[in-house]
């Protein structure tokens, strides 16, 4: 057993973990973060995407022991209880989710992309947006609403509005 320290959504936790335990499982079980989802456990669907030290990573392909001392953000930290992050609001406005299972993964993978586009002050082309989400599978929406939500969040962010 290894004892590690994870800083998750701004709160520090000490947990004792077997090396083989996935970060996804430790976040879900030990820290009761139900927003981390596992769709395949082999890195092909993106459901488990969280941010580790500021970058989107697959928590089903990361062992918790690798993350000792790391800053981790899950969807719970993105916009709080009422999902107030601009991208979350854009998802709601554009019907970018149906069953919701893939949604946290999309949000965590796309939030940095949206933030970067807002900083650059430009709305990416459709194929660029689709490429940015190419590692996330959605089975319900057909991707249309998600592309629209990304575009909307970037547009509103550039204008300085919130949706």
């Amino acid at each position: 057993m290894n004892t590690i320290c994870l800083h998750v959504n701004g709160v520090s936790h000490r947990v004792a973990v077997e090396p083989r335990r996935l970060l996804a499982d430790v976040l879900r079980q030990d820290l009761a973060l139900s927003g981390v989802h596992i769709g395949c456990a082999h890195g092909a669907c993106g459901c488990c995407t969280v941010q580790i030290d500021g970058a989107p990573q697959l928590s089903c392909l990361t062992f918790a022991v690798q993350c000792d001392g790391a800053e981790i953000e899950t969807v719970e930290g993105l916009g709080g209880h009422d999902a107030g992050h601009p991208l979350q609001k854009a998802f709601m406005a554009e019907h970018a989710l149906q069953c919701g299972y893939c949604t946290p993964g999309f949000l965590m993978a796309l939030a940095p992309f949206v933030e970067q586009a807002i900083e650059q002050g430009r709305i990416p082309e459709a194929d660029e947006i689709r490429e940015a989400m190419s590692g996330n599978i959605c089975r319900c929406t057909g991707y249309h609403g998600i592309v629209a939500a990304v575009r909307r969040a970037i547009h509103d962010g550039i204008q300085g509005d919130s949706p």
Partner: protein, 289 residues
């Protein structure tokens, strides 16, 4: 679908990493990006008893060193699209790496990991073979150098011995004005290639002075074809005989069949992609008359 038990070790330096690998023996594997190794562990297709985490090592340099460029084993795939040194000298790294899976994977996966994993369809292995790269490996026994052409033995099998880590890929910089081309055919963007072809053409006075064509996905490791390369030398850049080169390359090898594509179709794709690559590389080399 979770891994079998193992012990975790963290290396803070290259020396420490190779010492650990030597001590822990054959059942120890290095852990870099992990996006090839960990799926296999979760599927229980790989069961290392020890993992040595080498992410703290740094080893992610991309530097011009005279006639070569050196890339550290821990360079992440997402670097190629933005590294100015590499984009000038080896434009194919950016282009080829855009076919590796998808953005989150590219941000994490490493050059050394990809080379050591030796998937037969891997883009970076293909480029290493095309550019006549040299792979420098480190172990507790010291450092040795393996030419790319000898490094990839078979599917998921390399010349690496127990306890060896890929420390660096050294690639000789092509002559200025060379033409480069890369084409990959896969079912979806980012999927494992069915066939991928890369070409490098050096021209002199409107004719091909040197040609290199490499192909991944045909056999269990990336291949070059010396006969095709020799046949292209002396051809004019305008009409290099790309169609014939393609047919020649395809006819010389018996490609694999799998659920993705038959041998017959792969052979066709080899011919087609070699044709396109030769044409494009020649067009790119046209400036150096």
């Amino acid at each position: 679908m979770r891994s079998a038990p193992f012990e975790y070790h963290r290396a803070e330096s290259l020396d420490q990493a190779v010492d650990l690998l030597a001590t822990l023996g054959e059942d120890a594997r290095p852990l870099a990006g992990g996006y090839s190794l960990v799926p296999m562990m979760n599927l229980r297709l790989a069961r290392p008893e020890h993992l040595v985490d080498i992410n703290p090592l740094g080893l992610d340099h991309i530097v011009r060193d005279g006639a070569v460029v050196r890339l550290g084993g821990l360079v992440r795939h997402s670097r190629y699209a933005v590294d100015t040194t590499l984009r000038k000298t080896f434009p194919l790294f950016a282009e080829a790496s855009s076919h590796i899976a998808h953005p989150v994977i590219r941000r994490r996966g490493t050059l050394g990991g990809s080379l050591a994993h030796a998937d037969p369809t891997a883009e970076l292995a293909l480029l290493a073979v095309l550019y006549d790269g040299v792979i420098h490996v480190s172990s507790a026994r010291g450092r040795r150098s393996i030419p790319a052409g000898e490094f990839f033995k078979s599917a998921f099998t390399t010349a690496l011995q127990a306890g060896e880590l890929v420390a660096e890929l050294e690639v000789p910089v092509p002559a200025t004005g060379s033409g480069h081309a890369f084409f990959e055919f896969s079912e979806r963007k980012g999927d494992f290639a069915i066939i991928a072809v890369a070409a490098l053409i050096r021209a002199a006075k409107g004719r091909i002075a040197e040609a290199r064509i490499a192909c991944a996905g045909a056999l269990s490791a990336p291949i070059r074809d010396a006969n095709v390369e020799v046949a292209l030398v002396g051809q004019s850049l305008e009409t290099p005989g790309a169609l014939e080169a393609g047919h020649m390359f395809a006819a010389a090898h018996d490609p694999m069949s799998d659920i993705r594509a038959t041998s017959h179709y792969r052979r066709h794709l080899i011919a087609e992609l070699v044709r396109r690559a030769v044409e494009k590389a020649c067009a790119g080399a046209g400036g150096a008359a």
